[in-house]
Symmetry: C2
DNA sequence: CAATGATATATAGATAATCTATATATAAGA
DNA sequence: TCTTATATATAGATTATCTATATATCATTG
């Protein structure tokens, strides 16, 4: 059975870039921030995050540096100009996708037949 | 390079169930309808669609039947009660996901510092 | 009439994103 | 001391979608 739990479905990079566009963060902090801001919808796994960060760094969207905080050395990430460009692009794509889904779902659910719907009725009977 | 073109990112089943909740359709018709309704954002590939339909039929979310139309035999799909239940669930999950992304993106973009944002400033400088 | 492109369905294999599992290390708390 | 939380990392499995390929009919066009 497909668990359906926790799919970040392709937008993880955008969300991370968004966080880093606000302030420098270390990995674990990103996981927690995403979880908090999304009311526990996003539970990004460490095994997903770190390879992603490494890839983004390799593509010059981020740089990283070590910093000690509370006796513990943490690896902080900072977004680059390239990363901000990428974020802007990803946000645009997300809007387009979101709108497209809305268009499909709006479909013919409204109480009249018109607009993109050229047929009349058709909703109702189920079999199963 | 990741083409970034055409990712339906996990919601294809929901979109197909939505279409079929409005009227019975054959496969190719679903591809065209999705493309039209989404203004060319969704270009679902046949190689993605048919295995998906077969799986949904196996899970009793759809039934299929052959029908001749214009001298051509087409395989039509009809949503079942189970399928409508699944659609309702998927729509709910989509809303939750969409909201969560909005929460993260809203972040601290607004012109004031408050709400979920406890820090001041932080947006601006890039490196790269 | 033959070639081409659109329609229509189908399967196999490749690719990409995420997850699980595992490993390591430090700090805090019981 | 043992356990849990913090913190980073990699390998391998899973899942979704894509590309490529196959087949067949119909419409168009040269």
């Amino acid at each position: 059975m497909a668990s359906d739990k926790n799919q970040l479905s392709g937008n993880t990079a955008m969300l991370l870039l968004q966080l880093l566009s606000e302030k420098d963060m270390y990995g674990y902090e990103m996981i927690e921030t995403l979880q908090q801001r999304s009311n526990d919808v996003f539970e990004l796994k460490a095994g997903t995050l770190y390879p992603l960060l490494h890839g983004m760094e390799a593509r010059n969207q981020l740089i990283s540096y070590e910093k000690e905080a509370g006796g513990k050395v943490r690896r902080y990430y900072r977004i680059t100009t390239e990363g901000r460009k990428e974020l802007k692009q990803k946000k645009k794509e997300w809007e387009i996708y979101r709108e497209a889904v809305a268009q499909v779902i709006a479909g013919c659910d409204m109480g009249y037949a018109g607009g993109i719907c050229s047929w009349i009725g058709g909703v109702g009977y189920g079999i199963g």
